[in-house]
């Protein structure tokens, strides 16, 4: 109450400011959601219905569109499977090995520890695109061109995930626990797998989601590596829609394909949003 009167005497009343805040917030929420609403509506409508104009209400052709997409020339089901394989493997490898790296830096006091920690921090911001040229040559020489393996294995070294997990360990992992495990005769590797990993589960799950989504959405590298249609991931297949003769497409198929690649992530996000939104600030801003 006291706050309210204070604010009222010195500037715009708090009630007015609150109303403005709500209006602006609702405006931007609508601005974020409207595209997905149109997408949802249009995926339920047939090509013919769409040429007649836009309607606010869905139609009944969702299943028809899906069936014609599955039976079409784009191997969408295959793309789905490829995307899931790549993203799940990436998420698991990234988090497991980043946790291992973070554990090494956090727990052990070995020679060159600070130098190594600084080095990883320094390479964190280097974008993957600048090494793409050498990467492609390497992949060719290894005979891994047109394969999903080079999209998965490099995920073992992920400085960003490492950084987040190290921050988390610093404040949430008592070293006395490691000592206790040693006294009980647990090997270092076993301690890490059976005691440390379960303890940092919250951080691991957040990073797993980020790694999964990042890999699911990745377009640059897969587009350069994958050439055979049946090996392509979803983003590459979607880009192919744009490359082909646009006007000849059944728009119902186009919309349902976009919807199919967007909505899985939205569903995961809505279920886990509490952890994700918290994870954004925890990882990125160094307090």
């Amino acid at each position: 109450m006291n706050n309210d009167t204070q604010a009222r005497t010195h500037g715009v009343p708090v009630g007015v400011r609150r109303t403005i805040a709500y209006i602006v917030l609702i405006f931007f929420s609508v601005l974020c959601l409207i595209w997905f609403y149109i997408l949802l509506i249009n995926s339920t409508r047939s090509h013919a219905e769409m040429t007649r104009g836009f309607t606010l209400l869905p139609s009944t052709n969702l299943v028809n569109n899906w069936i014609s997409l599955i039976n079409g020339t784009i191997p969408i089901a295959r793309g789905f499977i490829n995307s899931i394989i790549v993203s799940v493997c990436t998420a698991v490898l990234t988090t497991y090995f980043s946790a291992m790296t973070a554990y090494a830096i956090n727990t052990y006091r070995f020679k060159g520890r600070t130098a190594i920690a600084t080095f990883i921090l320094a390479i964190m911001m280097i974008p993957g695109q600048v090494t793409a040229l050498g990467f492609l040559q390497l992949i060719n020489r290894m005979g891994l061109d047109d394969s999903i393996i080079p999209l998965i294995i490099p995920a073992i070294a992920s400085p960003v995930t490492y950084f987040y997990l190290k921050q988390y360990m610093e404040s949430n992992l008592p070293l006395s626990l490691v000592e206790a495990a040693r006294i009980d005769g647990s090997g270092e590797f076993r301690t890490f797998n059976t005691i440390i990993l379960p303890l940092i589960k919250p951080a691991i799950s957040v990073q797993m989601i980020f790694a999964f989504v990042g890999s699911w959405n990745n377009y640059f590298t897969p587009a350069l590596i994958l050439h055979t249609d049946t090996k392509k991931t979803l983003p590459v297949l979607i880009a192919q829609l744009r490359g082909a003769d646009w006007l000849r497409f059944d728009m119902g198929q186009v919309y349902i394909m976009i919807a199919a690649s967007i909505f899985p992530v939205i569903v995961i996000y809505l279920i886990l949003s509490k952890y994700i939104v918290g994870g954004v600030s925890a990882g990125a801003v160094k307090g």
Binding site: F54, Y103, L121, P127, T131, G134
Partner: protein
């Protein structure tokens, strides 16, 4: 004696640090460090295909760099990239500041914060290529946006969004804005919530208005986070690729005004112009290296505080 023994034990344990670092470093060296070196090495060679004929590889020193930086192409694309980045970044930081301020203002006591944060962060997780494809379909000449605009009588015939430089660029900026303003809001909010609330109370007791509190207290304290957001966004902006690539089918039209630096790199990579691609990669490596050094310095100077 006993102390010495346990000390030796700790040293023995500490060797495990190296073992646990092996997967990271082996992977990093193979898939990032060696590629980086070979990229740099290749940038000194003339090595491309001209029709069916393979030219090179011939060592040509820094000629690739001279050609790259001497041609107007790269500067044009750099300007394109920066224009589209700035056009997305300015509204993004303004709106993010405003929303973050409202979210963290205790006197407003906004309800449904979780809902709003969830919604505004969502576009950040959307597949950029699918999002671009969606926008391309929605803003197509016969797409729903034109249909709606014609229905409500704003325009009488379809507006060709992708035929004009301004409207195409604005669409890219708008998409960048949509994808990133929620993320920035959350980052700034984390910084604002860290501000000691007694500062606000003291200011209110002294009779400061909401806008005075914002500009005299919140902004100065937020400066480090602000710079962090600015530079990381710039690094991200220089990597802009998915949205303009898919919106323009890799051509950057109209009149090459949507081509970004990474799209140029992508052209070199797909046409196997190894020398020029290498020079461009090294150029980008140096630019992002300098930018990340600034972020890095900021982080480590905060550590020393």
């Amino acid at each position: 004696m006993g102390a010495k023994k346990s000390n030796q034990n700790v040293v023995k344990f500490n060797r495990w640090g190296y073992i646990f670092l092996i997967p990271f470093f082996v992977t990093y060296i193979i898939f990032s460090f060696i590629p980086l070196c070979s990229t740099i090495y290749n940038s000194f060679f003339e090595n491309y295909r001209s029709g069916l004929k393979q030219i090179g590889p011939n060592f040509i020193g820094i000629n690739n760099y001279i050609n790259l930086l001497g041609s107007p192409e790269i500067w044009k694309y750099l300007v394109n990239t920066l224009i589209m980045w700035i056009g997305g970044f300015i509204p993004q930081i303004v709106i993010a500041l405003l929303l973050a301020y409202w979210f963290s203002d205790p006197s407003l006591r906004l309800k449904g914060q979780r809902f709003f944060k969830t919604v505004i962060y969502m576009p950040n997780l959307i597949m950029a290529s699918a999002f671009s494809m969606l926008f391309f379909a929605l803003f197509a000449d016969s797409g729903p946006i034109n249909q709606i605009l014609m229905n409500i009588g704003v325009i009488s015939e379809p507006f060709k969004f992708f035929q004009y430089v301004a409207s195409s660029r604005i669409l890219v900026m708008f998409m960048n804005f949509l994808m990133w303003f929620g993320n920035t809001t959350i980052l700034l909010m984390a910084g604002m919530l860290g501000i000691d609330s007694s500062l606000y109370e003291a200011a209110q007791v002294d009779g400061a208005t909401a806008s005075q509190i914002f500009f005299k207290i919140t902004m100065p304290i937020l400066r480090p986070i602000f710079i962090y957001v600015l530079i990381t966004s710039l690094i991200g902006g220089l990597q802009m690729f998915d949205v303009p690539q898919i919106l323009t089918n890799g051509r950057g039209n109209p009149t090459d005004s949507l081509t970004t630096v990474i799209m140029l790199l992508n052209r070199y990579l797909t046409s196997k112009d190894v020398g020029r691609g290498g020079a461009l990669s090294v150029f980008l490596f140096i630019v992002t290296g300098i930018l990340s050094l600034i972020v890095f310095r900021m982080n480590s100077s905060e550590d020393n505080k």
